[in-house]
């Protein structure tokens, strides 16, 4: 285990009822690293991401973020989770951006950004607002500070959501298919903000269907399918010279918009 790992996940399992969505996931994210998670719909990639800040509670496994253990297994195999206060303290340092933005619709853009810094970190309204306006400016939305979410385009809402997460000065960030709910021509403005964050050294775990972004920005790519990491490695290798048949089939389906080969899916399930 490398000493500069910011996130360490081992033996992660998650079931919803009888359905086992994650079947034993191990990975690390080093400080400053950008890791893209790709995989077919229903592969478990979003669930895996949501486990990292305990929005989903793992059925088994150990998760450590920045030296703090969120959950681990007891000797008898039952799960032990950190207490509420500890989980909140960890979440403070883990920014999350959602597929469907999840902005607070009754607050303006700037109010969305200042709420948590004031409530959680105890910043004064004045300080929080000054910082929020800087952040909104950095995502190109200073002029929309007083707009309500429903007055903004999807791309603008998502950039406000990124500013909201950044306002907590996170140690690393989780991105859950953040361009999937916006019109294709607006995805670029979100990806541009994310690319700049990566260049500034932000540690990022990114679930995405944007292969161009993964190829250009990610240090490492994890391909996940049926709840397991099938292939991982430097972005160039996984995306350029995939070793596994499943990875090749998936990439072909995404890049050429061709359906994934059925027999391969059957093979995998046997």
């Amino acid at each position: 285990m490398s000493s500069d790992a910011l996130v360490t996940v081992s033996g992660l399992h998650k079931s919803f009822g009888d359905v086992e969505v994650l079947r034993g996931i191990d990975f690390e994210v080093a400080r400053g690293e950008v890791v893209a998670i790709i995989g077919p719909s229903g592969s478990g990639k979003t669930t895996m991401l949501r486990c990292v800040n305990l929005l989903e509670r793992p059925s088994a496994g150990r998760i450590e973020v920045d030296g703090r253990v969120l959950c681990e297994e007891n000797a008898d195999g039952s799960m032990r989770f950190s207490d509420k206060a500890e989980i909140r303290a960890i979440r403070e340092h883990v920014g999350m951006v959602f597929q469907r933005f999840n902005l607070f619709p009754h607050f303006t853009a700037v109010e969305n950004v200042i709420e948590a810094p004031m409530a959680v970190r105890g910043l004064s309204r004045k300080d929080a607002k000054a910082r929020a306006l800087e952040l909104l400016d950095s995502v190109g939305l200073a002029h929309k500070a007083d707009s309500y979410p429903l007055q903004l385009s999807g791309g603008q809402q998502q950039r406000v959501a990124i500013a909201r997460a950044l306002a907590m000065d996170p140690a690393f960030m989780l991105f859950d298919e953040v361009t999937s709910a916006v019109d294709p021509e607006l995805a670029g403005e979100i990806l541009l903000v994310m690319k700049r964050l990566a260049q500034e050294g932000m540690t990022m775990l990114v679930v995405t269907h944007e292969m161009g972004f993964a190829a250009e920005v990610a240090d490492r790519v994890l391909f996940i399918d049926h709840g397991l990491i099938v292939e991982e490695g430097p972005a160039k290798e996984v995306l350029g010279k995939p070793k596994h048949q499943r990875t090749r089939s998936f990439l072909r389906a995404v890049l050429e918009r061709a359906p994934m080969a059925e027999e391969e899916i059957d093979d995998d399930e046997l």
């Binding site: 800040n53 909140r88 303290a89 999350m96 959602f98 709420e115 948590a116 959680v120 007055q151 997460a165």
Partner: protein, 216 residues
């Protein structure tokens, strides 16, 4: 209909308006606070709280209001708790309306997108903070119509306090027709006053809905 009888009846009935409004306002206030508590208990992950809340709703929605009023007025003194007719009626009406308001409030809270709670959690907010600042303000918009509907019903049901001798409008109306045996005019006046009062509530609903409308 004799209009001079209408005019004579009005001031006599109107004298009870204060009691009617008093019963309504106290019961709505107590019932809403209690209803909010019951709604939050019902949503709580602590089993004893949600069981208590479920039992509360079941009990007070399942027993006729009139019987609750009889309990408060006739039965409680038997066990040494003597309330004036007015406060006995407020007690019965409050418990009864709280059970309905709890359902209106709970349905408003669960209708708020789950993503709002997740975003609050991910930002490290406490549950009580996100309830207060994020979830409840958004649920108000959703709960206003059923809440107002309950309030309108409550206002009309204050007339049952007649039967535990509160001198509100309905009781005063009965006094008129037991004196002069004129029914049409006093009942007409009474109906019009209730209608005017419920109209005010419905206008209030429109104003609140407009205030909490999401800005698009």
């Amino acid at each position: 209909m004799e209009w001079d009888v209408v005019l004579e009846s009005f001031p006599l009935i109107w004298k009870g308006a204060g009691k009617t409004v008093g019963l309504f306002a106290w019961s709505l206030a107590v019932g809403t606070v209690l209803g909010l508590a019951v709604a939050l208990m019902k949503l709580s992950s602590a089993k004893p709280l949600s069981w208590f809340a479920t039992g509360f709703s079941w009990l007070f929605r399942g027993i006729p209001l009139l019987i609750l009023l009889f309990y408060a007025f006739f039965a409680l003194p038997e066990v040494g708790w003597l309330l004036s007719p007015f406060w006995a009626a407020v007690l019965g009406l409050s418990l009864w309306t709280a059970a309905y308001q709890a359902e209106a409030i709970r349905s408003g809270i669960i209708a708020v997108d789950q993503g709002q709670t997740e975003a609050s959690d991910a930002l490290g907010m406490t549950r009580s903070h996100s309830m207060r600042r994020i979830i409840i303000p958004q649920s108000i918009r959703i709960m206003v119509p059923p809440f107002t509907s309950n309030a309108t019903t409550l206002l009309k049901q204050t007339s049952l306090a007649t039967l535990v001798t509160v001198p509100e409008m309905t009781l005063l109306t009965q006094r008129i027709f037991s004196n002069n045996f004129k029914f049409i005019e006093p009942i007409f006046v009474l109906a019009m006053i209730y209608l005017a009062m419920t109209t005010v509530l419905i206008i209030g609903q429109l104003i609140v809905e407009r205030t909490f409308r999401l800005r698009t």
